[in-house]
Symmetry: C2
Subunit: 132 residues, 2 copies
């Protein structure tokens, strides 16, 4: 049976608190703030467990590569901020799937990735600051 460990709880905590898609290194970094000895292999293994139990899903981001996010969210898309390099989830969908699909093709799902500057960074830029 699966056991509840400090490392696993720390990793779940990271996802719950940051509440955005994360890459392996981000999980490791934020996890080590909670469990300093957290090992990279453990992160990989537990991410794999979370995927298998359906608590996380994995996807390739066009810019950042492999990311993981919590399951159970409504249909949403992703916004990548080129300043802070974070990915945010945008609820809702502005795509007309039927209109986007050519004759003869059958669309079953879609993903949209926006890229630009997030709210936090655009306001800081205006103030002459820069969050990284």
């Amino acid at each position: 049976m699966k056991r509840k460990t400090t490392q696993k709880e720390a990793m779940r905590d990271v996802f719950r608190q940051l509440d955005r898609p994360l890459g392996i290194e981000e999980i490791l970094k934020a996890g080590r703030e909670r469990v300093p000895a957290l090992n990279l292999a453990t992160v990989y293994r537990n991410v794999k467990l979370f995927l298998e139990e359906g608590w996380l899903v994995r996807f390739n981001h066009p810019t950042l590569g492999t990311l993981y996010e919590r399951t159970g969210k409504d249909h949403h898309h992703h916004f990548y901020c080129r300043i802070c390099e974070r990915v945010f989830e945008l609820p809702g969908c502005a795509l007309n799937e039927k209109q986007a699909t050519p004759e003869g093709f059958v669309t079953e799902s879609h993903e949209i990735f926006l890229s630009g500057v997030c709210m936090s960074c655009s306001s800081h830029v205006l103030e002459g600051q820069c969050e990284v």
Copy 2:
């Protein structure tokens, strides 16, 4: 100065003839039909050259991972067929970028990935055949 070689021309030929985004293995496979001795390292090196000279661009496909495609095409998106596992370019765009962007965010670009069954495979399925 850059030299024109059989291997490079074979690789360009592959992109021109298949006219869709390709992964490294697809380039190697199709390239070897033209130059049987084509080496994997050569493919990687020439893809890198093509990227540097701006003849190709690279992106991460949500399902297939790293793909390369010719530059200079109009704004378009990608359709992935889960039957033949090919990626097609779909000209045009059905996204309302402004509507898709939350207050305070600044969108500079976007990518859309559709997934389903392509025209070729859906017609073959109807006929009880299956192209792979």
